[in-house]
């Protein structure tokens, strides 16, 4: 099944496509200032870890959350939207799961 992008304004489907098309893995433009290893942890634990530690990076710094619970793929970007931080991108990990990059906004 392939997904149609709901024209432009919604980038969520693009993220799905990134995750589903590993043949062109995008590279992070900016190395994260902090990496949180939440591999093997179920939601909401990865989100709780992110919320606890995001203030350890400077404002505008990037946190990478490593997670393999499928819920994290949706929930980290949703948390960013609710908390007015920025979801930079999600990169597929070779061993499964994602590195989900979040920019601290305040």
């Amino acid at each position: 099944m392939w997904r149609r992008r709901p024209d432009g304004r919604d980038t969520r489907t693009d993220r799905h496509r990134e995750a589903e098309e590993p043949e062109a893995p995008p590279q992070p433009a900016e190395p994260p200032a902090l990496t949180i290893d939440a591999l093997g942890r179920k939601c909401p634990i990865p989100i709780i870890m992110l919320a606890e530690r995001i203030n350890q990076v400077p404002v505008r710094g990037v946190v990478a959350v490593l997670a393999d619970d499928p819920a994290a793929f949706t929930d980290v970007p949703a948390w960013c939207r609710l908390k007015s931080h920025e979801h930079v991108a999600s990169y597929e990990l070779p061993q499964g799961g994602w590195s989900i990059h979040v920019r601290r906004n305040y």
């Binding site: 392939w2 709901p6 179920k42 939601c43 949706t74 949703a78």
Partner: protein, 377 residues
């Protein structure tokens, strides 16, 4: 126990119960036979068919009864695709359709067909323009759109989809499972599906209506039952009860819908006021009267259901680990909203205001306890 899970199944309507008890005695015989008791069963079956047809805006000879809403969708999707195989092999569906639509799509793909999934916005409403663009593709054989979403209650732009389908000459299957008996059935469908236990009829009765002139070929071995659309002996007493429930429910729909909608509006407004870090999901205005869904940050959905059950509330959740699945609900994923800590409250007919008050009273403490057990403030 306060039952707040009507979207999973609505308790049997009193009118259905009466009709069921009568029909068990009067309608047990084989409606395909030619003696007195059989003719009586056939008469009851055909009367139920005429009644359901009238209430959904169909002709009686367009309506077949299935053994479930899921079976109606499977037959509706696969039968229409089979009937239009020479026209094309593309199935278009929204990303938030009921799993029965997506499962039928998987069968179609295994059979060499193509499936295009059209995305939704943050409220769960399908992008009507993207839907129209998909059905205009060459080879489009069938499009599927629900009247309203079963998990978040958002109404879908069925009229826009019907117009696009008409222009493209593509049949539209409308899945009315969550709205039938609560809201008028929209026109413009080529195939309509619904499920009796969602409107207060008994389980085990689905409705499949196929418009005259829509090509349809059974994906199953055929027999002479249900206009050769649904094989197997009809459950006449349950069908009679389903029709009685739909009639009763439709008559009450406006007044009860207004009452339920006011209660869900209250939950929508109060939950974020009483509980910090909550996202109420679904469209605030274009929604079903009885469903309200929200997600609590930093809370496990399963823990929330367990605690609410202990406190005497039956609700459901689209979070992973709550429905024997490790994946969160495809609906919440497609919307891009929080999938953990999710609760769907769906109000049955006649729910008391008191139950809603008590729910709002216990929820903040339960969320606070679960959060503190995870070390959240």
């Amino acid at each position: 126990m306060a039952y707040l899970d009507a979207a999973s199944t609505e308790p049997l309507h009193p009118a259905a119960r009466d009709a069921l008890l009568t029909a068990i005695d009067a309608g047990w015989a084989d409606p395909a036979r030619l003696y007195g008791t059989a003719r009586r069963a056939q008469m009851l079956l055909e009367r139920a068919r005429a009644e359901v047809a009238e209430l959904i805006g169909a002709r009686a000879d367009e309506v077949s009864f299935t053994s479930s809403g899921t079976q109606a969708v499977h037959l509706g999707v696969l039968g229409t695709l089979a009937g239009r195989r020479r026209v094309g092999r593309l199935l278009v569906a929204s990303a938030v359709e009921h799993s029965s639509v997506l499962h039928a799509g998987q069968v179609h793909e295994r059979d060499g067909g193509e499936v295009e999934i059209v995305g939704v916005g943050l409220t769960g409403r399908v992008d009507a323009e993207a839907f129209a663009a998909a059905v205009a593709r060459p080879g489009a054989a069938l499009a599927c759109l629900q009247t309203a979403n079963h998990e978040v209650g958002t109404l879908q732009p069925v009229e826009d989809a019907a117009r696009a389908c008409r222009e493209a000459g593509v049949p539209l299957l409308v899945d009315a499972a969550q709205s039938a008996g609560r809201l008028p059935v929209p026109g413009g469908w080529s195939v309509l599906t619904a499920s009796a236990h969602k409107w207060g009829g008994p389980a085990g009765v689905g409705v499949l209506a196929v418009r005259k002139g829509v090509r349809w070929r059974s994906p199953l071995p055929e027999d002479e039952r249900e206009r050769r659309r649904v094989p197997g002996f009809e459950n006449v007493p349950a069908i009679v009860a389903a029709a009685a429930a739909l009639r009763a429910r439709s008559a009450e729909a406006e007044a009860e819908g207004r009452r339920l909608s006011a209660l869900t509006a209250r939950i929508r407004a109060e939950v974020p006021r009483l509980v910090p870090d909550v996202e109420v999901v679904g469209d605030p205005d274009l929604r079903l009267p009885h469903i309200v869904t929200f997600s609590c940050l930093y809370v496990e959905g399963e823990a929330l259901l367990t605690e609410l059950d202990k406190a005497g509330f039956a609700v459901s959740s689209g979070s992973s680990c709550t429905a024997s699945t490790l994946r969160p609900s495809h609906v919440l994923e497609a919307m891009g909203v929080l999938t953990h800590g999710n609760v769907r409250v769906s109000l049955p007919r006649g729910v008391s205001e008191d139950d809603v008050d008590r729910f709002l009273a216990v929820l903040p403490g339960i969320v606070r306890r679960i959060r503190s057990s995870l070390g959240v403030r």
